[in-house]
């Protein structure tokens, strides 16, 4: 395991360099925006990575909450399977196909929906017990880092292109801001909570956050239809060469995110080991002190 890390780091560094070369040199210049548009090759992959990490945190939190009781665990498994099945079938029904945005193939949406049970069972299998919680904290923290990058590069892109740093009605950037706030509060709760059940509380908060995000999306969406705002990030179709570079960039950042998560995961395991060692030491110490005081206890009348 230890040898894999440097090897994988080298591969990732090469991939990132290649992606950078593609982004700055190979990708064609945009007709409208000039060269500044190349920020998307960092902005968009960071966003997709952040959302993926937050999704993993959500799955891990649900599993953690469900694992408290055997019955909820079984129920959660069935719910997830049903969601997957219904989602896939629904994608091929004509009524639902009307609702899909133009250009999105039903098979693509179906594959995305299948990701929910897929991730659920994958996470459950490879991260048993406490490791589920370690995964939750890891994905939350690294997700916040990537989300910060999205929120920093977004305005840097908007300023030269639209002349404004921030558009209050921009649905994507504002939803990302709320997601960032929710997960920062999640990390703060983890840091400052003294309860033995901190992990349960944090998992509950993650569920609340996940419920909140669609509501945020709809509230801003309606606000925007009433007060039209510029759309940061561009809509519509993309030059296939640009899309190609975007995917390469995303793959490179995914590998990088994986490395960072791996490190953070190991750090958390080490942290818990140290805490346990502290706890054992104080127990042993207390035992020794008790032994020493027995003569005093036995001292009579």
């Amino acid at each position: 395991m230890k040898r894999l890390f440097p090897i994988f780091s080298a591969i990732t560094a090469a991939l990132l360099a290649y992606a950078l070369y593609q982004a700055l040199v190979v990708a064609p210049t945009d007709a409208l925006q000039g060269d500044v548009y190349r920020i998307i090759y960092y902005h968009v992959p960071s966003a997709w990575t952040a959302f993926l990490l937050f999704f993993i945190n959500f799955i891990a939190s649900i599993q953690y909450l469900a694992s408290a009781k055997e019955s909820t665990q079984k129920a959660a498994k069935w719910v997830v399977i049903v969601i997957g099945a219904v989602g896939v079938i629904a994608c091929f029904l004509p009524q639902v196909q009307h609702l899909l945005p133009t250009g999105m193939r039903p098979s693509a949406v179906a594959t995305t929906v299948l990701a929910i049970p897929a991730f659920y069972f994958f996470v459950g299998k490879f991260f048993p017990g406490q490791r589920l919680d370690v995964l939750a904290v890891t994905s939350a923290e690294v997700g916040v880092v990537f989300c910060t990058i999205v929120l920093v590069t977004g305005p840097i892109w908007a300023r030269p292109v639209w002349g404004i740093w921030w558009a209050p009605g921009d649905i994507r950037l504002t939803s990302t801001l709320v997601l960032w706030l929710i997960y920062v509060s999640y990390l703060v709760l983890r840091r400052f909570s003294n309860s033995a059940q901190t992990q349960m509380l944090a998992a509950a908060l993650a569920v609340f956050g996940a419920l909140d995000v669609p509501l945020v999306y709809f509230s801003i969406w309606f606000f925007r239809t009433q007060h039209p705002q510029p759309v940061i990030g561009g809509g519509g179709s993309m030059d296939p060469r640009m899309l190609h570079v975007l995917v390469i960039s995303w793959m490179a950042f995914l590998c990088f995110a994986f490395l960072v998560c791996w490190s953070r995961f190991r750090l958390e395991l080490l942290h818990r080991e140290v805490e346990e060692a502290h706890a054992m030491e104080s127990l042993v110490g207390a035992g020794a002190a008790a032994k020493a005081s027995i003569p005093l206890n036995r001292s009579p009348k």
């Binding site: 909450l65 408290a68 709320v178 706030l181 929710i182 920062v184 509060s185 703060v188 709760l189 400052f192 909570s193 003294n194 309860s195 033995a196 059940q197 901190t198 349960m200 509380l201 509950a204 908060l205 569920v207 609340f208 956050g209 419920l211 909140d212 509501l215 945020v216 709809f218 509230s219 801003i220 309606f222 606000f223 009433q226």
Partner: protein
């Protein structure tokens, strides 16, 4: 021992205790008045656009005032180990939550009822849209703040920075509700748009989060 009988018994006890020790009540009322006055001095009431921003100011004022009420939700239960007694009793955990949430709802509504006339007076408000719609907005909006606030107040009990943890947890989650409340109030005051969508959004928010709170409160209660 049904859910509702325990809820109302707890609620009655809380109201009686609050009524007897009026000092907390009085200071919160005065704080609400101060919030309104600060806004009046910061945001010019004579400007033509004031009607557009008053919706936001009113709800920010309510938010600050409700923080006062929410922060001390569980304070009394922590003293004298009442919370522990509740944990071991056969009473359903949700009854305690509902009682606290309803108590907070009543209390925050009283604060709002006192702050609203002040806003109307200082900002010379005249409602240009359908005024009756302000009632569902106020009720649903207040419940949205109070239900999550009560839940997160319970979550923050065992943190080192309890008073700041509550707004830290509550504000991000409340953002869609705040957007809806402010937009609905502004739409009704200015009469320019329909508040219909926002009221439906607030209702959805309330249903979703009341369910979530009721489902997860027992877990929170037993966190020690």
């Amino acid at each position: 021992m049904s859910l509702w009988s325990v809820t109302f018994a707890t609620l009655r006890k809380d109201i009686r205790l609050e009524w007897r020790s009026k000092d907390a009540l009085n200071s919160m009322l005065f704080f609400s008045l101060l919030v309104v006055v600060i806004f009046v001095f910061s945001f010019d009431p004579l400007a033509e656009e004031s009607r557009h921003i008053v919706g936001g100011l009113v709800w920010i004022g309510f938010l600050f005032a409700s923080m006062m009420a929410l922060n001390q939700t569980w304070a009394r239960e922590l003293r004298n180990q009442v919370l522990d007694a509740y944990r071991v009793s056969p009473a359903p955990a949700n009854a305690l939550f509902l009682a606290k949430a309803l108590g907070n709802f009543i209390f925050v509504s009283v604060l709002e009822a006192l702050m609203t006339p002040l806003f109307v007076i200082f900002y010379n408000l005249r409602v240009l849209g359908p005024a009756w719609q302000l009632i569902p907005v106020a009720v649903l909006g207040t419940w949205a703040l109070v239900v999550n606030g009560t839940f997160f107040a319970a979550m923050s009990l065992r943190t080192r920075i309890r008073e700041i943890m509550l707004p830290l947890l509550l504000f991000p989650i409340s953002i869609p509700a705040v957007i809806a409340m402010v937009a609905a109030t502004t739409a009704i005051l200015t009469g320019e748009d329909s508040a219909h969508f926002y009221i439906v959004l607030l209702l959805t928010y309330d249903v979703v989060f009341t369910t979530a709170c009721l489902a997860l409160f027992e877990t929170i209660l037993h966190a020690e």
